[in-house]
């Protein structure tokens, strides 16, 4: 085997490593974005649940008050 092709192959292999490293960087970033989305999801669900709870409480309170002030007929 002559020298130039060998060198070329070695360069190609190096190029391959570089390319794969690049792909890896992108993959890792996508993974990070995924992780972010997941924790964002969790965090939002947690907050929305709290908000929902508050709204439900208010709704129930309104229902109760509505029942208190009406005399059998609904306010609508």
């Amino acid at each position: 085997m002559s020298a130039p092709p060998r060198e070329a192959i070695q360069k190609q292999i190096q190029q391959d490593w570089a390319n794969r490293e690049y792909i890896e960087v992108i993959t890792v970033s996508i993974k990070k974005i995924t992780d972010f989305l997941n924790s964002f999801d969790m965090s939002c669900r947690s907050k929305l649940a709290v908000l929902n709870e508050k709204l439900t409480t208010l709704e129930r309170k309104i229902d109760y008050l509505e029942a208190c002030v009406t005399k059998g007929e609904t306010l609508t």
Binding site: R6, E7, I9, Q10, K11, I13, Q14, D16, W17, A18, R20, E21, I23, E24, V25, T27, V28, S29, I30, K31, K32, I33, T34, D35, F36, L37, N38, S39, F40, D41, M42, S43, R45, S46, A49, V50, N52, E53, K54, T56, T57, R60, K61, Y64, A67, C68, T70, K71, G72
Partner: protein, 1291 residues
Amino acid sequence: MSATDRVSLTDALSNVDVLDELPLPDEQPCIEAQPCSVVYQANFDTNFEDRNGFVTGIAKYIEEATVHASLNELLDEGQEHAVMLYTWRCCSRAIPQPKSNEQPNRVEIYEKTVEVLAPEVNKLLNFMYFQRKAIERFSQEVKRLCHTEKRKDFVSEAYLLTLGKFINMFAVLDELKNMKSSVKNDYSTYRRAAQFLKVMSDSQTLQESQNLSMFLATQNKIRDTVKENLEKINGYEELLADVVNICVHMFETKMYLTPSEKHMLVKVMGFGLFLMDSELCNINKLDQKKKLRLDRIDRIFKNLEVVPLFGDMQIAPFNYIKRSKHFDPSKWPLSNSNTPSPQADLMVHLPQIREDHVKYISELARYSNEVTTTYKESGSDTENRETAELALRGLQLLSEWTSVVTELYSWKLLHPTDHHQNKECPAEAEEYERATRYNYTEEEKFALIEVIAMIKGLQVLMARMETVFTDAIRRNIYAELQDFVQVNLREPLRKAIKNKKDLIRSIIMSVRETCADWQRGVEPLQDPALKGKKDPDNGFAIKVPRRNVGPSSTQLYMVRTMLESLIADKSGGKRTLRKDIDGQYLVLIDQFHKTSFYWGYLLNFSESLQNCCDLSQLWYREFYLEMTMGRRINKCTVRHHHNEECNDLVTMEKRIQFPIDMSMPWILTDHILKTKEPSMMEYVLYPLDLYNDSALYALTIFRKQFLYDEVEAEVNLCFDQFVYKLSEQIFAYYKQLAASIFLDKRFRVECAALGAYLLPYPRANRYETLLKQRHVQLLGRSIDLNKLITQRINADMQKSLDLAISKFEAGDITGVMELEGLLEVNRLCHKLLSKWLALDDFDSMFREANHNVLAPYGRITLHVFWELNYDFLPNYVYNAATNRFTKYKGHIVFTPTVHRDKPPQMSHHYLWGTKPLNMAYTTQYAQYSGFVGLHHFHAMCKLLGYQGIAVVMEELLKIVKSLVQGNLLQFTKTLMEAMPKVCKLPRYDYGSPGVLSYYHAQLNDIVQYPDARTELFHNFREFGNTILFCLLMEQALSQEEVCDLLQAAPFQNILPRPYCKEGEKPETKQKRLESKYSALQIVPNIEKLGTAKQAMISREGDLLTRERLCCGLSVFEVVLNRLRSFLDDPVWVGPPPANGVMNVDECTEFHRLWSALQFVYCIPVGETEYTVEELFGEGLHWAGCTMIVLLGQQRRFEALDFCYHILRVQRVDMKDQVVKGISLKRMVDRIRRFQVLNSQIFAILNKFLKSGENDEMSVEHVRCFPPPLHPSLTPQQHYHAPEHLRQAMII
């Protein structure tokens, strides 16, 4: 940003990095398995597709890679067929069969049958062809490798392992085919239909159908064919021995990662040995020749008696050996013995698992803290290596624990219990139930839960650190690989070049060229090693670069296989290559080869992590479903000696799935709920996660909609159950806690002292963590557990209040005490729960339960009134000495017996929490049930409130009005007739017996009047009780109000007068106090901070509180005035006195009648008779006195009363004798007592009546009569005390 804008890579990457810095708090503690909505797994496995890129590799291994690629494809296909067989559900059972040949629609039925089954049958055909092809291919490979020349050459580890996988695949497919009778049934149904319709006309199709039919019908067909084919190959046993040996080697050195790989190795050993043992070959002899090590395999088979085959199918690998031709039990001492396998006992593994878990978790926590607190671009080589090792160790631990769980489960499936071993297992329990539900002890279930929790918990922790781990893993692998290739291999290379070992040189050069990533892009040409020369004295520096990437899968395979060939025991030639390499480098290469085995797993970290924690198979039960044939057999369940007849009673129940009670995930979840074990409570979501595993498996591996649907259906059912049971026990727990807190401490101490029964506080349970869960991931849904529990507990709370009131409604007025207690406990329970749950306002809930939201009066008010009216007023007897009412105990029935609703049936947690607590409280409140006293009035005050009290009194007044103007008036009119017209006060000279006999004679008609002592007095008692009720309510109310005022005082700037030393000014001290507590004062604060409207409201509220007692509003006074207005009939006062001043002897006014009645009830009764006090209590006197006072006849009554007169006379002469059967002394005693009582009553009444009047005003009403002047008297009437004079005038 518009779509056309370009973002540079650096910007994009820094954008991603910034994401990390966003705080995303999640406020719930993580007690569930990895919750993620999005899963990202990059797969870089090319299955050797890129092999041609590595032209510098040794050609032989590139060829081998090609073979590998196609073998892997076959293995994948085999997996698909296995899934097809395993998930096969019988179709023919659902297809209608023509009952006779005459049936008109049979052609249609057959046509439809063929149409429906054709695609399924096609799968079976493909399966048959596939197994044929796979066996052929396998035999070819074996044949090629068994060629005499080839035998001398080295066969790579990867190659042998792939052959092992084939052997495993054949074993699995064969067992699946044997097991699935429904496949055979479906095919014969299809065939019958097809033959009828003559679909298979050509001979080829017919032959094919015949073949398939034979293939399906022949048991062990695949195994036998493989064996048959192999036996034709010369020396195949040696190759198989290599395969078995590599499996033993890998098993013993733990060269596997996932549990399924581990089990695969064991299965290959068993099935491999079975295939080897034949006419031509005896494995025992191979053992003797040391070509096999049966003793080692024996130990492995004992430690792992049962391995999962596929899904819920299990296999005991030793059974293959037993079935082989030359089975020699003496060679298998361990496997053949009856001692239990360690696999069957989870408890022996548990301490080690716990220890490993704690150790690993702490290490991980330390590392995780380090990573999160310190920022580093990339760690040093050592750090990266340590992190990668940590990751690998974690994966191995997870895999080990998962193995323990699955192996126990497998063993249990193969060793079902029965009613002899487990007393709880009914004799008629079905097979699957005996394998799951009754097959685990309590301890085992807890241990299983714990291990599952450890697996799932650690999985979460490791997944969170995935990016950190993978970063370190890639850097570490890159560094180790490049260091090894560029630096470590230099020496062997130098030596090979120097010694002209061309083969070694070319292999090493190949390795270097396949994967070296040179600093300058090319090999340093001036490297002396390349020329076989020594390095210069100062060394030859090679700078190895660093990257954040691992080798590709093919690259890794090439490097490992080529290096393996260097150190293998075999090579193509006579001499192994090992001999030409120095020992130290052999060790290095060997070490590298071993370490790099795990690189593939580490580089696919995410996938490996998931595979190591996969417990999906705990749910699948296709094997057992197949066995039950879609039916449940109900045997005769009558308890008797079963006989022939019982067999006729066997009934079939159609069923396509097992109930949740037999399902492992639910068994474990339910176990925690049932035992309420506090240490396990936080694990309760982990067993539920098994459904996630199973569902994921159904979607991604089985790819069967119906399986997913079944998992989903079960989850729906289980989760409902879960929430139901959990909320019930949470509510019960908090109720019990509240009731325990509320229980009197001294009562508790005394109970303990007596040892009667202990009432411990409930064991602290960790429901809080569960209550904080707001997003639980289950089958891709996010569930707000807190919300679901809140809904249920809200309802429970409501029901609890409702039942408390219902209980009150079912009892008499004394129940008001227990009602108040119950409401207080519920209030406390509500308060404790409200810390975690957003429950409705307690007061609104109470009003709703009390039906008091829309209606002005609640159930409590109505029942109190009802009880007052029907039970309290007519049946209770008041006694001022004890200040209580007691129930009338006499025999005379005045009112019909009271009928009440039956008390509602309710479980303990709706009442006081538990049975012992219910008993304790019932005993306590029983103390209040015999009487109505101060406590009850306080309770009523609190429960009724102002509005309720007003309503009750209003209604009572109405009753009194009808009483006064009805019965009483009627009686009065009648009795007035019977009264003597004139009844004088007899002179002292007659003596007391004379006076008594005078009155007795005068009042004889009244004394003899039959209804006086019964009906009339009863009516007066009702009247009196009403008055007393109002009075006592007023007293209780006042006390409550005083408490209110005192409590409100600090907020209203009412401070106690400060203590002042001499010389101190009270004003300044007062000022200082006021400013000190100014923050408490409501009105000024709200005026300062609130809106005008709020300020106004607070001012008014303040005013209301202040004024409540100050202006001396009195309910009782109003009541009295109202009563006065009822007495409007002239009969009460009679005609005006004839003398224009007052009646003295005439009996026209009410007080005269009362005097007569007083005479009646003062007559002492005999021993056996009930006295008036016992019968009617002091209500009677209250009624009489009140009427007298209200009619303004008090003075005349006191002056002219008959009994008082007897008393006065008797006081003087002190005589005692029996007059007309009446003992004078006893009579006088009674009179004295009642006189005192009457004066007390008058005093109280006058206090209330006079409170609003000024003295001057009353003076105005006085008519002044000049004293009659007697000429014999001096003008000075010194013996008349002026106040006496005035008293006389007021009368």
